[in-house]
């Protein structure tokens, strides 16, 4: 697609590190694994 982002570019790397890394850190900080344990129980 024309929307493809070149993940090798510096800007994309900065963006990826900021946004994707931040979201994942959020999952870790808020114990998504524990939530899933509770929901699956």
């Amino acid at each position: 697609m024309a929307l493809s982002i070149d993940v090798t570019g510096d800007e994309a790397k900065r963006l990826g590190a900021r946004v994707v890394g931040g979201l994942l850190q959020n999952l870790i900080d808020h114990r998504a694994d524990k939530l899933l344990d509770e929901l699956e129980a």
Partner: protein, 360 residues
């Protein structure tokens, strides 16, 4: 392009970054199409109709297309009008995306129609600021629409990508206060909102379809180059989230205390009006609005902040949100419920999937 000759339409692309040729489009009578769905098809006659004035009162207009489109779900242009009538001299025009695959996605998700329905029917009775609506036209059969909105480009904006300036706590508080006012107004009024079939709700076919799509997208993400940005310790959790994401959005999606949620409530979808410090936030991009737990918007806002900023304020902001919900009359809703882990996880993961789907 600008000029003084009447009945000439003009489209210019902002060439401040790259050289893009000026495009002139022929004048199109309003009888040829019900309303324009491409920026090039916007004519003086249609503009006059949109503002409810006689075409002869408009002496010139200019459409400027930003060189870099800030979104992928629409095309926008800034309109400048010279007129003898009492109408705004500037506005923003928004039409469906030009790219065929983006347009197909917008139609399949009903996103452009949803935003048009919000601005046409819900914004006028929702007590939060949005860009002022000058005109909205929507074709229910295709989902295509055109929006003519207040040009807010002179207001302050924020970014979760730029390092500086970072959004301040008082600005974030103003955002969650706006969210509280939105949510309190529509609290437990799902039946009224459900009259608008464009607005998604639990069990809505579009939402169910998106749940399946995003679960699949998250799985693809784990095999993509983007996964290198993931902290290694997050991968096992992410795999579990990916396996269960459809259920998070359906079976495990809250069904109580629902309201109208923006669902894309991040700092880049806000204007900040310094001239009105008591009510400075204007929220835009309502194409995902949904009957949902309002806390999702707060969690989403927090989820897209830089990590240090989120950690610094993630105790304060849900409390501020909850206090404002109470001030707006919402009772029997606990703070623990108001921005729980479920919302943070779901909102984080949803953003994730949007990211992935935008880069596929």
């Amino acid at each position: 392009m600008s000029g003084s000759a009447p009945r000439h339409s003009g489209v210019v692309h902002d060439s401040s970054v790259g050289a893009i040729p000026t495009v002139r489009s022929p004048t199109c009578s309003s009888g040829e199409i019900a309303f324009p769905t491409k920026l090039e098809d916007v004519t003086l006659t249609w503009i006059a109709s949109a503002f409810g004035v006689d075409p002869s009162s408009i002496t010139a207009f200019e459409l400027t297309i930003p060189d870099q489109n800030p979104g992928y779900g629409s095309e926008i242009a800034f309109l400048r009008i010279s007129s003898t009538a009492d109408i705004p001299t500037c506005a923003m025009i928004k039409v469906p995306p030009l790219h065929p695959e983006s347009a197909a996605l917008a139609r399949a998700a009903g996103s452009f129609r949803r935003e048009a329905v919000f601005y046409k029917f819900l914004a006028p009775e929702t007590p939060v600021r949005t860009p002022e609506v000058h005109a909205v036209e929507v074709d229910d059969s295709t989902g295509d629409a055109i929006l003519v909105l207040e040009d807010c480009s002179s207001m302050a904006t924020f970014s979760f990508i730029r390092d500086d300036p970072q959004v301040r706590l008082d600005q974030l508080q103003a955002m969650v206060k706006t969210a509280a006012r939105l949510h309190a107004h529509w609290w437990n009024r799902s039946d009224e909102l459900a009259r608008f079939d464009a607005v998604m709700r639990p069990g809505h076919p579009t939402w169910t379809s998106l749940a399946r799509f995003t679960q699949s997208a998250l799985g693809h993400f784990l095999d993509s180059p983007w996964a290198e940005f993931a902290p290694a310790e997050s991968i096992p959790t992410l795999r579990r989230v990916a396996q269960n994401f459809g259920r998070l959005l359906t079976d495990w999606w809250p069904t109580n205390n629902l309201t109208l949620a923006h669902m894309d409530f991040h700092v880049q979808n806000m204007f900040y009006d310094h001239d009105t410090p008591d009510d400075p936030i204007l929220a835009f991009d309502w194409d995902g609005c949904h009957i949902a737990p309002g806390a999702h918007d707060v969690a989403y806002l927090l989820s897209l902040l830089p990590i240090d900023l989120r950690r610094r304020h993630e105790a304060e902001l849900p409390s501020h949100y909850h206090a404002n919900l109470k001030l707006e009359g919402v009772s029997n809703y606990g703070l623990r419920t108001s921005c729980g882990t479920t919302d943070l996880v779901v909102s984080s993961t949803r953003i994730y999937c949007r990211w992935r789907s935008a880069s596929m």
